[in-house]
Symmetry: C2
Subunit: 176 residues, 2 copies
């Protein structure tokens, strides 16, 4: 993918919230450029996500392929989805995604957090999670949970997540 | 509550699945009796739960009181609720409850698992969780999760739940 050519002078992240009609909220990542052109990144809670783009994004981080039909059901039944993208020649380029299930009252659980490898380490993951938390807090949800792989535990700690508070343990049941 | 008078010869739990119209599924807990009368316990996924009964049940285990309005929203937006009860003079007596949020495709998270203290240690908690898992598996949900307080981790391990598989950690974010 030689067309990717980014210049990142620093990683300082600042979110400017300008809701733009039908496009999403503008996320300002300082000095994010492509071919010397400043890149404008958007986030959107619109569920009208191109599932093939999402599949490609998940492929890019090496996730196991999942049936698109099941992904569609999961998105439809998620309380919240956040897509992170930019426009290139009027086409949306999906570079980040997260979703949350919720009872829309007390609890939410965040799933499928992904940033395209080309855009990792630029503050986009942090911006994505801050946007997710902001949306859930807007709905007065006070317990926001997730299950973190070992390599991203520090990342989530940096955003304010804690592991095992008061000895509470995340537990899993899988079919045998 | 002197009217409670139970005789439990052993704790062996066996679930007989007889769906009874409008009442729920009969759960057979061996030798569960009240005043020498065998007690017939039912489970139901019907969301038409008396919220005051649920509040009383949560009170009985010392949970912090929650606004009924918020509880109603949480139940309405849960994928699954399981109520455990028996009939006395044609009145339902709620003695157990659990609910799960889900994307209805891949994942589910179980919340608010409660058994009335008078009925704890009789195998009802296990029956409640087995019913919850059965319902979620029926919908082909393969990752069933929960957050367990330290004192119930062993109970969930007995049902087949595992903590921190491959180092995956349950994490929480609370408003500051």
């Amino acid at each position: 993918m030689t067309f990717w050519n980014f210049f990142f002078n620093n990683k300082k992240t600042k979110i400017i919230e300008n809701t733009i009609k039908n496009t999403g909220t503008k996320i300002f990542i300082e000095n994010l450029k492509e071919n010397r052109q400043k890149l404008i990144i958007y986030s959107s809670t619109n569920k009208d996500i191109n599932l093939h783009d999402l599949e490609k994004l998940c492929d890019s981080v090496g996730w196991v392929k999942r049936p698109i039909k099941k992904v569609k059901i999961a998105i439809d039944n998620s309380f919240l989805t956040i897509a992170i993208f930019y426009y290139k020649e009027n086409k949306k380029n999906l570079i980040g995604f997260a979703r949350a299930t919720s009872d829309e009252s007390f609890n939410a659980t965040i799933w499928d957090v992904v940033i395209h490898p080309q855009f990792q380490g630029k503050g986009l993951g942090k911006a994505l999670m801050q946007e997710t938390i902001k949306q859930l807090r807007y709905h007065d949800i006070s317990t926001i949970t997730l299950f973190a792989d070992p390599e991203v535990i520090q990342f989530y700690k940096g955003i304010g997540f804690v592991t095992d508070p008061d000895g509470v343990k995340g537990m899993f049941w899988y079919p045998v």
